[in-house]
């Protein structure tokens, strides 16, 4: 049961996350039923549920970085749950597409073959299905930890395909997929930082801050390059717009602020952890090393 921990006890943390994973779907369902989602309810729901599926997939990829940097080992308990939820959202996204095509399976199949962004999305869904199917404890045991992990590493590729699919289906305003691409870069960069360390330990908050700046710069530069190639607009003018804030928070800032928030949380957490260590030592009658 998703609300029990390994020892079978009720876990308020797991239960809370489990319930929270339903909230976006409930919100979309409410919008659909009340009509507030927009005049074409099915089209809007289809888009929103896919969008949330991709967000959940990125959140599942954020579990490891947060677990390490925030020294929060319990977070691993909810990773699988988030991944399975991402699959459920994206499978529903596909189901709504089939409904939108009036259950004309021939049309659905031909569209998937003809439109490259649908091909990409469908491949991502197939990959995600394989991960969902092997997400049970029984399957994990059957595959063995190492093989299971190797298989589940394809989630990086799946997330990338999902973001490309999102980019390609967007008509003109690529703000959201750009933010996602920047955050995906950050998540992969974090893993690179871990891999670069010989001890495989968590990167320092300073390194995380550096990564966040790098990911934000790459986001801004990539965006400017994209618009330059697509429309010929001067990349410097696009970059200048990032600083004017007249269009609200641009993707650069989203990526930077989210990244820096993790670095800051890591610092706070380290201070807290050091304080707790000292307190424990004092309790045990051991002198703090600095004293």
């Amino acid at each position: 049961m998703p609300w029990r921990d390994r020892s079978g006890r009720f876990s308020p943390f797991k239960a809370t996350v489990f319930l929270a994973l339903f909230l976006p779907a409930l919100w979309i369902a409410y919008g659909y039923l009340s009509g507030t989602i927009g005049a074409l309810r099915l089209m809007e729901s289809l888009r929103d549920i896919g969008n949330w599926g991709l967000r959940l997939l990125l959140i599942s990829l954020a579990v490891t970085p947060l677990r390490k940097s925030l020294q929060w080992p319990q977070l691993i308990q909810v990773r699988r749950m988030i991944g399975v939820a991402a699959f459920a959202y994206i499978a529903t996204h596909f189901l709504l597409y089939v409904i939108d095509q009036s259950f004309d399976i021939g049309k659905v199949a031909s569209e998937i073959l003809l439109r490259i962004y649908l091909t990409i999305g469908f491949v991502a869904l197939l990959g995600l299905s394989a991960l969902a199917a092997t997400s049970t404890d029984a399957m994990l045991r059957r595959l063995g930890g190492r093989r299971w992990q190797r298989l589940h590493r394809i989630v990086y590729g799946i997330a990338l395909l999902g973001i490309i699919h999102f980019f390609m289906q967007t008509k003109a305003d690529v703000t959201e997929p750009t933010v996602m691409a920047g955050l995906f870069g950050w998540l992969m960069g974090y893993r690179l930082l871990v891999w670069l360390r010989s001890d495989g330990a968590r990167p320092s908050p300073l390194a995380v801050a550096g990564l966040s700046i790098a990911a934000a710069v790459a986001t801004g530069a990539g965006e400017a390059l994209y618009f330059w190639l697509k429309t010929g607009v001067d990349p410097l003018r696009v970059l200048a717009l990032d600083f004017s804030l007249q269009l609200g928070l641009r993707p650069v800032w989203w990526v930077l602020l989210i990244g820096l928030a993790v670095a800051l949380a890591a610092v706070i957490r380290s201070i807290g952890a050091a304080g707790r260590r000292d307190a424990r030592r004092r309790k045990l009658g051991v002198e703090a090393p600095s004293a």
Binding site: A39, R41, E111, L114, D173, L241
Partner: protein, 323 residues
Amino acid sequence: MHVRVRRGWEIPEREATPEEVFLRRRRLIAGLAAAPALLAGARLLTRPAFADAVEDPSAGLYPATQNPKYLLDRPLTAEADATSWNNFYEFGSSKDVVEEAQALPIRPWMVKIDGLVEQEIEIGIDDLLKQMPLEERLYRHRCVEAWSMAVPWSGFPLASLVAFARPTGDARYLKMTTFMNPEVAPGQQVIWYPWPYVEGLTMAEATNELAFIATGFYGKPIPKQNGAPLRLVVPWKYGFKSIKSIVQFSFVAERPVGFWEALQESEYGFWANVNPEVPHPRWSQATERQLTTDERVPTLLFNGYADYVADLYKGLENERLYA
């Protein structure tokens, strides 16, 4: 033998709905729907006073008399849907731009007519409205994104405006331009869009009887999000051709490059005639989802207006007519 090909609006007398039945049916439908002013016929009977329309100096011009030539093969879209599901990138890229669009000042509104004309004209919208023959038409509207509506526009034939403008013989295209005001239209601050919005028609298209300038919608002045105070309606083309909130009509010799064409030529061309057989690069155009009924229905060639416009494209088969 003389074969008479019947055009779209020509139906035998026996098939015509008697006016009384027509009105009764409309009253019934309108009664079922929440909004009492949903349909043109019902509106004529009830004439509700709309507080928001009172301030508009043109409010008294509507509802205009319905032209019985332009009727529909499908139920009318609910007004609430047609006025809340809008592509108006000047005010944002989502469909929900109702609130943002209210910032647009629509009085005074000067319209400039220039280019290859006998004499340039600059005229205020209310003076222009006095010179134009207003009527109401029911048209289908098909968006390139594969959704559609069926709505009552009020306004005047574009041909009347062309006659008013008196273009010279050199004019080959009519180029239309939307207002440019990034202060009130935040979308126009997005510098990688080729603002202001521009669209164009050939002179033959512009003077086709279907080409229409809408100034009213559902028997009232047209709401801002739908393109107040005047917009183009070319129902046989994808919706993006029907440019909103026009400030300038220029008669030109060169084919104008439209907003979407400039942005993504491979997906949004100059002609953009509706054709279910020719897919958009990213999706099929064979069917469309209707607002209000929320049903998916087959898309029709020229959006069902082939009788009126197919002749315009004879000899242009080498052009990319349907994208």
